[in-house]
Amino acid sequence: MSTLSVEVSPEQQRQLERFYFHEARLLDNRQYLQWLTLLSEDVRYIIPSRVNVQVNNRARGQEDMISIEHELEGEDSMGCPHREEGYMLLMLRAERAYKINSWSENPPARTRRIVGNIELMAQGSDTLSVLSNFHLYYARPGSDNILYSGQRRDTLLSQTDGFCIVRREVVLDYAAIELPTLGLFF
């Protein structure tokens, strides 16, 4: 995570932005079924939980002492991530949004997200590792208005007609969750 991003051409950067801005617009417009088409069928969608950790005394003086990675209980840990989902669960969430008895989203929440800091970190033959940050404003009836803040660590598959998401890990900037739900698509 300490390295510079891969040097990319303006066109390639523009391709990535176009993909992510399209995705953001679909999600803010509540077009979740169209969003599903951006996912690979073997997609992994992970939200690690985050804890206030004890710093390792022996790492003092080093950046690693307060590395974010120590705070994450992710897929490979023996802790419990908030979400570890494949296509089926993501589809269940997406389809739920269009049921009239999904009471907690009826009336639906209003969201607006800004996706930025898009960096290509590694490139394989047809896969790309991409980082991006988001701020997501969230308002719904009877709830405080909320700011979600986090980073997305994606693996994209490059296809003839664009990209699809093979893996997304969402690093949220919260330990205690003072948010109405982590059930959104970030």
Partner: protein, 428 residues
């Protein structure tokens, strides 16, 4: 205060005042009468296996360090320095020899004893450090690895406090030869709700599933739950709901975990593991309890166990209208790591802050607080009378038993709640 507790809960607890949920004076009495007098869940022994291990906990709003001492014993101390009151432990969990207050570096052993006062060498009269340790929780006891603490030195033993709930808890715990363990740190979810509603929800409210969760739970599944469902109150405030499957039910329909996403997506390896556990169940817990398929459990005042999605939960109050709701995924301690990782999703997919079901629960809990905090409706207490008086003793199971639609679990909770608050009323 203008209100008295007897005005808030009527004789048979079928009418519950909105003020029970929203009044700050009532909340102050709850701290004294309930959280100061009950056994409160602190953590599980699997979280603090080695000397020096610690986790943070809460007893109501009071921060607690739960630790394993160098002597191997379990200690619970209030996380507040004897000098200026700061928390001396700032990490959620870890292993340490000392807790050090950042203000003047007073340091404490993992057992809570005051070890050093850096400034002491410069003064003539030395403070008596033996009197200045962290305040110890006076009673700490465990049952099946579950650690509880109480501020009431005179409280009955934890075994007696749990009473016949042990029969129902063992229907789960005793299935696993090595017991259970908690996976990782709790998910901590701050919800603008009163602490009692998550408790009530997990104590016996099975029937909201057909309504609130109808977008997710298929109607046939919910009907089956209600048809086979039993609701039990062993002692007021303690309760369990479960399905009692008919004799000769196929193993896949009775085994714990088989209906959850871990088994559905986990394939043969997970399913065979669950079948093996069920195959031993009759021998381990007896025929009746081997046929139990649990739903919700509650231990007074604020511990819940969600058997169907295998999670322990504690509802920590943060005032009348806010709760910090903690949840842990729970798995058999001797399961292989790869199976534990799959089984934890039984909890996290449906419950906790990202849970597809609990995002619906948390919304109604917050909305219920708004409804409880309105004006001009104090003459309309909430109706808790469904199934009044219909619960009965059962020949084979301890406690009072009824259908899940009977709200007696909540009436019993509020009867105990009322007694506990009346015992300290007027003492503020």
């Amino acid at each position: 205060m203008g209100l008295t507790i007897r005005d808030l809960v009527n004789e048979d607890a079928s009418l519950i005042s909105r003020r029970c949920w929203s009044d700050k004076d009532v909340y102050a009495l709850e701290k004294r009468g309930i959280f100061g007098k009950s056994w409160l869940f602190l953590g599980h022994e699997s979280q603090i296996r080695a000397p020096g291990d610690f986790v943070q906990a809460f007893m109501c709003e009071t921060p607690i360090i739960l630790s394993r001492g160098q002597d191997g014993d379990i200690y619970a101390n209030i996380n507040s320095c004897s000098h200026r009151g700061l928390p001396v432990c700032r990490a959620d969990h870890g292993n340490t020899k000392r807790f050090v207050c950042p203000y003047h570096n007073w340091s404490y052993s993992v057992e809570g004893n005051l070890m050093t006062i850096p400034q002491e060498s410069e003064v003539v009269r030395k403070p008596d450090k033996t009197q200045l340790g962290l305040k110890r929780v006076p009673r700490v006891e465990s049952w099946r690895g579950m650690i509880f603490g109480s501020f009431d030195e005179a409280i009955i033993s934890l075994d007696d406090y749990l009473g016949d709930m042990r029969f129902y808890l063992d229907a789960f715990f005793d299935r696993f030869p090595a017991g259970i363990e908690f996976m990782g740190a709790p998910h901590r979810w701050v919800i603008n709700a009163n602490w009692k509603l998550p408790v009530e929800n997990q104590l016996g409210d099975v029937n909201h599933g057909a309504c609130l969760h109808s977008a997710i739970i298929p109607a046939e599944a919910q009907q089956l739950i209600e048809k086979l469902g039993h609701s039990v109150v062993t002692t007021p405030g303690h309760g369990a709901t479960f399905r009692l499957m008919p004799e000769n039910t196929p193993v896949d329909d009775v085994a714990w975990g088989m209906e959850a996403v871990g088994a559905i997506f986990g394939g043969d390896e997970v399913q065979n593991y669950l079948r093996e556990i069920q195959a031993q169940a009759r021998e381990r817990v007896g025929d009746l309890r081997a046929r139990m398929k649990g739903l919700t459990y509650g231990i007074y005042p604020n511990l819940s166990f969600l058997w169907s999605n295998t999670s322990f939960k504690v509802s920590h109050p943060r005032g009348p209208g806010k709760v910090e709701y903690w949840s842990w995924a729970v798995v058999p301690a001797d399961a292989p790591d790869n199976i534990k990782k799959i089984l934890r999703t039984n909890y996290s997919s449906f419950f906790g802050p990202a849970g597809i079901l609990e995002q619906e629960d948390s919304e109604v809990w917050a909305q219920q607080f708004l409804g409880s905090n309105i004006d001009f409706a104090d003459d309309r207490p909430y109706y808790y009378g469904l199934g009044l008086g219909e619960e009965k003793p059962h020949p084979d199971m301890p406690g009072l038993v009824s259908v899940t639609a009977n709200e007696f679990y909540a009436r019993h909770f509020f009867t105990r709640w009322k007694n506990d608050l009346q015992a300290v009323e007027g003492s503020l």
